[in-house]
Symmetry: C2
């Protein structure tokens, strides 16, 4: 007797069905839509699954149903603490719906972006979540022609590819500027990372400063110190040093809390009092912000909520539900502590 040519030898749904004494299709229904089989059949199939140690093969299931129950995430860099809550919330939300997450890293300087997209599309995920928005025309085209739902996150765009959950980054910067203005700071500066999102926050800040100072032209230019990603504490310290060498300032907006922490530490090392000599505002409300000396005033964005919303978008679209609002602004809040 000839054995099958191939096959992994693992137990299949057919085995389970045989043990349970039903047809394969009935076993499939028992597992995937339990309310469409009788209670007795359900019990028998479940028993058979336990006895055989059956684990479904989602490659086969996905191929047959063209639904892979897979979500894909593209991040510029995983090694960036800003996105941790976001990624965590996204995986958790997907897992709760029996979806898994495929992780892809594009790098900040998107050369391999197109290859990465192809590799992801080849897995036929039910949705793709982009951290930031997709810029390259080639990438946008690739995504569109794949027919896979896309969720852009974090930044707001005027013309999103498909669905979007994020925060208007410029407004974040503007809010920081407004606060510094309110507390009477007039000689202000920015320390900004060179990634896309941070640049937009910085631009929002400088624009707002320029707007409120329409009548005071001499102070209208805002010094900017640019640092290369990733943002670290040390980058923040050195950036403040560089800033103070060249300018006299009474306040600074940092595009991340990590940078701000470095600024606080450097200020202390130089005997500057925060906020009296120097007011400091960060971004992110990371888990250390309330415990810095002094506690950090910062802009809080609910990254976890962005992750959950992205998951909701993805699941709704993938499961055929109608998505009414395709663009959601998560919003932000200024958390005023002591540093500004």
């Amino acid at each position: 007797m000839r054995r099958t040519r191939r096959g992994t030898g693992r137990t299949t749904l057919t085995d389970v069905a045989r043990v349970a004494g039903v047809a394969p299709i009935t076993a499939s229904r028992a597992l995937n839509s339990p309310d469409r089989v009788s209670a007795e059949t359900l019990a028998r199939v479940r028993q058979a699954v336990d006895n055989t140690g059956y684990v479904p093969n989602l490659l086969a299931g996905g191929l047959a149903s063209s639904r892979s129950r897979l979500g894909a995430l593209v991040v510029p860099s995983i090694a960036s603490p800003i996105y941790l809550d976001f990624v965590q919330a996204l995986t958790t939300s997907l897992n709760e719906a029996d979806y898994q997450l495929l992780l892809g890293e594009s790098g900040y300087h998107n050369a391999r972006e197109s290859d990465l997209l192809d590799a992801i599309i080849a897995r036929r995920p039910d949705g793709i979540v982009l951290t930031g928005t997709m810029h390259s025309a080639q990438g946008r085209k690739r995504l569109r022609s794949s027919g896979i739902p896309v969720v852009e996150t974090w930044g707001m765009t005027s013309r999103p590819l498909d669905m979007l959950a994020g925060v208007a980054q410029q407004e974040v910067g503007a809010a920081a500027a407004a606060h510094l203005n309110t507390i009477g700071r007039r000689r202000t500066a920015v320390i900004a990372a060179d990634d896309h999102m941070a640049s937009r926050r910085a631009r929002g800040f400088t624009t707002e400063v320029a707007r409120t100072r329409g009548a005071e032209p001499e102070a209208a230019t805002v010094p900017i110190v640019r640092i290369t990603a990733p943002s670290t504490l040390g980058q923040g310290r050195r950036a403040l040093s560089r800033l103070l060498e060249q300018h006299e300032v009474d306040s600074v907006f940092c595009t991340s809390d990590t940078i701000a922490l470095g600024v606080l530490i450097e200020a202390q090392a130089r005997g500057l009092s925060v906020p009296d000599d120097l007011a400091v505002i960060g971004y992110g409300d990371m888990n250390f912000a309330a415990d810095t000396p002094p506690p950090l005033t910062t802009v809080r964005v609910d990254g976890a909520e962005i992750g959950r919303q992205a998951a909701r978008f993805l699941l709704d679209k993938s499961q055929g539900r109608r998505v009414s609002r395709r663009v959601v602004d998560i919003g932000f809040s200024l958390v005023v502590r002591e540093s500004a």
Copy 2:
């Protein structure tokens, strides 16, 4: 004329083959093992791929070949900066070999661990990387019977499931203890997170202290402050406060740099001089460690190398290469700066 019942309408390998004027199997070979077709055929197929915008379906390919080109990673929590370099190196290494990474989060308190494993195994990855070692007997059994190669990482075990790349956590703690002893500190303490790995570092520390103090019984107990994961700067500050309320110490080992940073800040706030009044050692050599006031003495573990080694294991096993050494100790180094 009846249309096919199903199908996504996307271009398939058969379409490509038709355009190129070859059989599907030849097109498959052209894409997967280019050196097994003639140069002319290869060119024609590549041309056809470009013209049609074909993207392979890896669900189908994986099902047919029982090789999914997928790696899976299980982390307790993504929202932990310790593993960032590791995850990044792992994804990068896998991507370079045309593999993708599936991400699963187990949570520190492994209740859903078994469900997560089933969900992962259902995707038939070519290998599973565990952060930490698998403890639950059920989980170990599930993994073993799945037949999927497993790489445990970070911690060393006497009896690994399969392959292992990590660091003997106890020795890390012991090295910290030895250093404090060398610089003459005798009243030492530990601040430890409550996760498994951190506990092992803490145990290594206390064991070493006890060993060197065989002759000084009165000082043989080491105060331990336990904090609940995740480790934050604030946890570090509060832990030091609690410690100083109850004990008089001249040095402290923190199971993470994040905690250590909090300790440095709290010490400064209390007017304690580091290292004169209090020597501090951290763990991780995170990207801020060189820039803290004062620069932090810490134990450095090359997380990226663990990630690369895990990828190497996974790829070797999955591609049928022989793996000679199945356990690799990555080692660590004590980075002596100014805090201890």
